[in-house]
């Protein structure tokens, strides 16, 4: 969302890439939201067994997921959307796998 100033070099227009971007936003946005919610579950205050925290971490999926869907059309192309969101997913899931432990009984 950069200002177009007279002195800045002209940027190539944003490609629509409807299908590619929408799919990236809906699928990778959802998996990213799940991974981030999982990180809050395991690393956030109280750990995974804090009372009713599982409800909060379920709620938080919706804004993250739909935030990604809403803004994924800002990527300059569908390919970039897949690469950036895929990369973010890789990092988030690596962190989640590393932080998942045993649930206390």
């Amino acid at each position: 969302m950069a200002d177009v100033r007279p002195d800045s070099p002209p940027q190539p227009p944003v490609r629509p890439d409807w299908w590619s971007k929408s799919l990236a936003g809906v699928l990778l946005g959802f998996t990213l939201a799940i991974a981030l919610s999982g990180l809050i579950t395991w690393l956030g205050p109280g750990g995974p067994a804090a009372i009713n925290k599982y409800q909060f971490t379920m709620w938080i999926v919706a804004p993250i997921w739909l935030g990604v869907v809403s803004f994924c059309f800002l990527f300059r192309s569908g390919l970039r959307a897949w690469l950036w969101l895929g990369g973010a997913n890789l990092i988030a899931f690596a962190a989640l796998l590393a932080s998942r432990g045993r649930l206390p009984h």
Partner: protein, 539 residues
């Protein structure tokens, strides 16, 4: 704020698609949702309570003991307090046989001290309004309907964000500008933008929470597999307020209700109890949830404290306003923000208004879609026929929206006439609504949007006016309809205002159809598409 024009163009398309896919579903959800704010007054308007022989609340313990002796298998029941204390309902226990049982059982004390058990027959208007709000009226299983509205709400959030993005460049210049000029499209666009921007926080809250209500099963299943390695039930069990309740099912005597209420008052003096919900009553495992409000906190519809019904010990305050853990309190506030169950009647009325404004937002969105695809005579240089897609969407918009408005008004008004005449008022409510709704849709497609719009607006105005007319008639000529004087003028006044508004819209639509520009789906004039069915078919 400067945003690149190619980005704005892109988001205009996102807004168009998400809006057009969800507009009609959301209209029904919002209109019915606005009515859910007042479903109890609606229920009372239809079935005014008969004269109640007052029974002191102190006799609740006696009622429970006698009912338990009469129906030993009934261990889970509710004792409502508020209607008893205000004299609106007798002292009674109620229980249901399923989650959405329209006719709960009731047990009341007779003057001779015995207990009378009978099936209650509430009008069911509250259940219908609630169902329409959750499912947009998609028939069949509740789960399917809520899944559809959940997905629609997800698209609706994207529509909100994209709508704001395309508005940002002109926000400073055009904000709150309502240009009442000959350019009707400009006026509708301004109205759409004002409605959307002013109520944006409300819409974001409603959209996100509705996504959760619609899709929580799917999200929980995914989280269980990915985050909890299939062990989420341990986290759920550890959070259950019942985890510390006894499991001993041997019989035991329970404390009388006034005693339980005193303990609740000691715990939280600002808490206003409205009912006691018993579980495993008459055993050592017996628990009671004391439900109630506390206007100082954001809670789900109501909060509760869980107590042992035998010893009166406090088992859990996890859902008690002001006594919740931080996670529970945050989640409760999400619920409260969707339900408008905070801040008393001001918030209730605001949510009612915001719900109706939301319905208008989606209606105007569809109008703008049609208007921006209009074929004009000026450009074509002669009479034009509008495209098939705009004609169809115009008819669908008129049929669905006015079918919903008219259907709900008619089923409410009819409820008062049928109450006591038919045995299953609940089924009649649904039948009348769906018949009116489907009839309006069929009428709109058959007659075309321009004619049907005017006719259905008049019909909706008449159906809505039937609500205060019914009250007036029953007041002037008491007979078939029981009238409770002075009690429920609110429902009548709101319906009267609604009827007048609908009649006003009908007059405007009529004028538009007769004398407005004829190159439009809303015109019935010669040369307009309505008089050229052949041209329409050739499209």
């Amino acid at each position: 704020m400067a945003i690149r024009t190619d980005v704005v163009r892109l988001y205009r398309q996102v807004h168009t698609w998400t809006g057009i896919l969800t507009g009609l579903i959301l209209f029904v959800c919002f209109y019915a949702g606005a009515l859910t704010m007042f479903k109890e007054p609606l229920e009372r308007w239809i079935t005014p309570s008969a004269e109640v022989a007052p029974v002191a609340f102190e006799r609740a313990g006696e009622l429970i003991a006698t009912t338990r002796a009469l129906r030993p298998k009934v261990r889970d029941f509710t004792l409502a307090m508020e209607p008893v204390l205000t004299g609106a309902a007798p002292l009674r226990l109620t229980w249901t046989e399923g989650r959405f049982d329209p006719a709960p059982w009731s047990a009341t004390l007779e003057p001779d001290g015995s207990v009378a058990v009978k099936k209650l027959d509430p009008s069911g208007i509250g259940l219908l309004v609630d169902f329409l709000h959750r499912t947009a009226g998609i028939p069949g299983d509740l789960d399917i309907g809520t899944l559809v509205t959940g997905v629609a709400s997800a698209l609706y959030l994207v529509a909100l964000v994209s709508g704001v993005i395309i508005l940002l460049p002109s926000l400073v210049r055009d904000f709150l500008a309502l240009r009442v000029t000959a350019n009707l499209k400009r006026l509708w666009l301004d109205a759409h933008n004002i409605l959307g921007l002013v109520s944006l926080p409300f819409h974001i809250v409603i959209a996100l929470s509705a996504v959760v209500f619609g899709l929580h099963d799917q999200i929980y299943d995914t989280l269980n597999q990915v985050v909890y390695k299939g062990q989420m039930r341990t986290a759920i069990a550890a959070s259950s307020p019942f985890r510390a309740a006894a499991k001993d099912m041997r019989p035991a005597a329970m404390l009388p209700p006034p005693d339980l209420l005193k303990r609740t008052r000691d715990l939280s003096p600002g808490f206003h109890p409205v009912g006691l919900e018993y579980h495993d009553a008459g055993t050592r495992a017996a628990t009671v949830r004391v439900w109630g409000h506390d206007p100082r906190y954001l809670v789900r519809r109501e909060g509760f404290v869980l107590m042992g019904a035998v010893d009166g010990r406090i088992i859990s305050t996890e859902y008690m306003p002001g006594h919740q853990g931080v996670w529970s309190a945050v989640v409760s506030s999400f619920f409260a923000l969707h339900f408008g169950s905070f801040g008393g009647s001001i918030v209730r009325w605001s949510y009612f208004g915001l719900g109706l404004a939301g319905a208008l937002l989606f209606y105007s969105g569809n109008l703008l879609w049609i208007e921006s695809r209009r074929r004009t005579e000026r450009r074509a240089g002669g009479p034009v026929a509008q495209s098939r897609s705009t004609s169809l969407l115009a008819a669908a918009t008129v049929g669905v929206c006015l079918g919903c408005v008219g259907g709900l008004s008619l089923t409410i008004a009819a409820g008062k006439w049928l109450n006591g005449v038919v045995s299953d008022l609940h089924a009649w409510h649904w039948g009348i609504y769906y018949a009116t709704f489907l009839g309006a849709c069929a009428w709109a497609f058959r007659r075309g949007a321009a004619r049907a719009g005017v006719e259905l607006l008049w019909a909706s105005a008449a159906a809505t006016a039937a609500i205060p007319a019914t009250s007036l008639l029953s007041w002037l000529a008491p007979g078939p309809v029981p009238w409770v004087p002075g009690r429920l003028a609110g429902v009548d006044l709101v319906a009267l205002a609604g009827a007048l508004a609908l009649a006003g819209m009908a007059r405007l639509a009529e004028r538009r159809a007769r004398t407005g520009p004829r190159d439009s789906v809303w015109s019935v004039q010669e040369g307009g598409m309505e008089s050229h069915p052949a041209a329409n078919a050739a499209d």
